[in-house]
Amino acid sequence: MNNRINDFIVRFANVNGTGSASANFLFAKTVFRMGIPVTPKNIFPSNIQGLPTWYEVRVSEKGYLGRREGIDLLVCVNPQSMAKDVLSVNEGGYFIFDSTKKLNPEYRREGIHYLGIPMMEMANAAFDDPRKRQLLKNIIYVGALAKLLAMDESIIRQLIEEQFEGKKSLIEANFKALSLGIDYVEKHYEYPLSFKLEKRELLGEKILVDGNTACGLGAVYGGATVMAWYPITPSTSVAEAYENFCKQFRKTEGGENNFAIVQAEDELAAMGMVIGANWNGARAFTATSGPGVSLMSEFLGLAYFAEVPAVLIDVQRAGPSTGMPTRTQQSDLLAAAFASHGDTKHILLLPATPKECFEMTAESFDLAEQLQTPVILLTDLDLGMNDHVSEPFEWDVKRKYKRGKVLTAEELEGIGKFGRYLDSDGDGIPYRTYPGTHPTKGAFFTRGTSKDEYAAYTEDGAAYKRNMDRLTRKWETVKKLVPKAEISISSKPEAIGLLFFGTSTFSSEEAKDLLNEEGIAVDSIRIRAFPFGKEVVDFVESHATIFVVEQNRDAQMRKMLIMEMDCLPKKLVPVLNYDGMPITADAICQQIVQYLNPKRLSNHELSKTAV
């Protein structure tokens, strides 16, 4: 292992429920504050206490923010998972453990370095309160890492001070624990290690935040006033973030709430509330994960056909069914796009970064209201619950909400007979009114049954068909309004196409570099919405082979691409990862190289799944 600056992976192995999250985050945040790109991933079980949990931090001078296989340093404070953890360390890597108890000789292996630190012993000696000991043990290993990896200790101290602001005794205790770790390494080990940190200014204005927080903030900025939700991992923190931001930024002077949040009795009810509120002119949304989407499917069909705006944030997790509730996947594409029976289809937005979570959530309200239909934001556990380095949130001061075609009382006065489902503008989008607008004009009946242009119930086949055809016309308008794909062209005519979206983006971008290094030219397209705009069709048409990267088994994005366009399916080659862990650049390259040259053995090894 050569000397590497700012390019390695640290993994923490803890027991869940022991409060390790804040210590581990302290480590990652310090790297961030040192101006170095960092990507933490929390790998946690679907229970509350007592099972193994991991926290993996990739440090990358080059700014690669995707996951990578191979652990350079493992801090293991969980005897339960130690046997496996030891094996997961790279050749030449480091294994830090609590040496209060002697290490079981079975856990010794050749080729890695063992650094024992008597964390529990030190904590016991330093702190009286047993609960304190458990928490501060974690800070001791942060101290040890500070020394071993040449972290900026003043930043660590500052972060502790910020976190425990005003709580002097907590700050002191943490400082003390930190020093214990630092001192122990100073006394017993050589430091820094062969890989280490060095301060940089690579991050500029960037922030470190998770996608769910960004969605919650986006909903506040997007003008959502009503949220209805039902708890489900990994979407719960969207609701929590929205509530927190609302409490900060959405109070009247008298302390009243300019928002209403209802914890519904289930997902069906949550979506019903969202539809009711939107029908009544408030921007409303919900957040859920796969099982919730399945349950909302009847209501989504209603909103499509009755043309009521609705915003749904689906933080995807590994399916099918309850699946792996604490693992990530991009596997709800088909279910979301075609939720509900009959000829139904829905708009999908596909953010890739916290900044996009913020922006697209805000934009989803504009789209839903302009198009009078549900908009589903598909994020996932990786994006939603892990912290990501992201461009800062931006908001154009001149931006105005686009509330769509809503008639006021005055406008109603001006027109003749109001036709709720008349296509007056030829774009398939009719005009609506809010309840209570006008004493005698503009009232109409909203329903999931067939109706004519004037919202009157009808079973007339011709009227039904006219309405369905108008909805098709509206769908064409949708294609023009949804976010465009992001395209990058290498100007090499023989370039392969790489198509990706959402959390496959970081690793795909890294894979591009790796492929370029191997002499393979790559044009890329990042899809940001369904239905696809013309730019997507053009990209697909202009490339002979397009690798479609996605994190599900059934190549769902590929299916949606081929069913929407007339291209030869063969040219869309699936590149898949669906073990619940975020996809890696290596895995992408491996599959592409294999396809391009099945006989040549790539020098990238097959990804091993880590947990």
Binding site: F32, G223, A269, V274, H438
Partner: protein, 350 residues
């Protein structure tokens, strides 16, 4: 198929405080079966809103699916209506109410819609004390799907296909009181002397007002009873199993005094016993309401009137401390925290 009735303005029709006649409160022509109890309830709603001088367009009518859930088309034609999906009216009403606290909310549902598929939402809208009028047009069967037993069908009653309902009936009023509904009343579709005042009280109640209205289904009424008068038709149906035959019947109307009990003959000749609460009934005593309902049940009687009311409990807006301005009327500057705040937020993530 829905017909719009011509809106004559008859100069001699009485007007209410707003200067509206009853006509302004009517809806489209009903497509329910002639004599259906639901139509009587619609008429009572029209009357109640007229008498209270409610601005029709400041009412929102929300329903599920079923014959009963179709009725919002047949009253208050100047109000927005939402015929949503089966059993989910309460959630749509909750969302709508959150968006605009200033409208009057009518939720209309059936016994199938509320007591079966919608049971969960029924329970939880009660628990939230949403400020709305919730009317169940209770006919003990699934009218629109042709007469299957609902969960409120009486145990032992015979349905159209001849089978006896073996299950205990769910007593929605009693359940509502158990669950802490803040206003619970019961009535009969044909008793407009009782129904209209109850609807008015429900509209005025500042919280969740539940009205369980027994509403006979002309076509699929499921009480065991004399079939004498319908020999030919019954035989024909038995022989052909043609379910498209609806024997035309008249609306059942009744009138009886508070504190009294009356027997009502249903369309098929069977009878139900209604018992009107006495004038001195104290609707603020939850325990006695529970006990009275239990006693009535034991006697196979249906207690009618305002069973329970409590105006102390917070409705959902008060619970959630939402601002007085309807949320759907907040201005962009009240909604969007702006760029300065955003910069602070950004800073907090560095």
């Amino acid at each position: 198929m829905s017909y719009l009735k011509p809106l004559f303005s008859h100069p001699k029709l009485p007007k209410n405080k707003l200067g509206y006649t009853l006509k302004e409160y009517e809806g489209s022509l009903s497509t329910l079966c002639a004599g259906c109890g639901h139509d009587s309830i619609s008429a009572a709603i029209v009357r109640a809103c007229f008498e209270l001088s409610i601005e029709p367009h400041l009412v929102a009518k929300i329903s599920g699916i079923g014959c009963s859930s179709k009725t919002p088309t047949y009253f208050l034609g100047n109000s927005h209506g939402f015929n949503s999906v089966h059993g989910r009216m309460p959630s749509v009403a909750t969302g709508a109410n959150m968006a605009n606290r200033d409208l009057v909310y009518f939720g209309v549902s059936g016994d199938g819609d509320s007591a079966s598929i919608g049971m969960g939402q029924f329970v939880h809208v009660i628990r939230r004390n949403l400020n709305m009028v919730y009317v169940v047009m209770n006919n003990g069967c699934y009218g629109l799907t042709k007469g299957q037993d609902s969960a409120t069908a009486d145990q032992g009653s015979k349905n159209k296909s001849g089978s006896i309902n073996p299950f205990q009936a769910i007593d929605l009023a009693s359940m509502a009181i158990e669950l802490g509904a803040s206003f619970v009343a019961q009535s009969f579709s044909g008793d407009k002397q009782q129904l209209i005042p109850l609807l008015k009280a429900a509209i005025k109640h500042p919280g969740f007002a539940f009205l369980n209205v027994i509403s006979p289904c002309v076509t699929f009424n499921n009480n065991p009873g004399s079939t004498k008068s319908y020999d030919y038709v019954r035989e024909h149906i038995d022989a052909t199993s043609a379910k498209d035959l609806v024997p035309g019947k008249n609306e059942i109307k009744i009138k009886y005094e508070a504190g009294m009990s009356t027997q009502v003959e249903m369309h098929d000749g069977s009878e139900i016993q209604l018992n009107k609460l006495a004038l001195d009934w104290d609707p603020e005593d939850r325990n006695s309401a529970v006990n009275a309902l239990q006693k009535a049940r034991a006697k196979d009687e249906i207690l009618t009137g305002l069973l329970y009311a409590n105006t102390d409990w917070n409705d959902l807006h008060r619970t959630l401390k939402t601002t007085k301005t309807p949320l759907n009327q907040l201005k962009e500057n009240e909604l969007c925290p702006g760029i300065k705040v955003l910069n602070q937020v950004n800073a907090s993530f560095r």
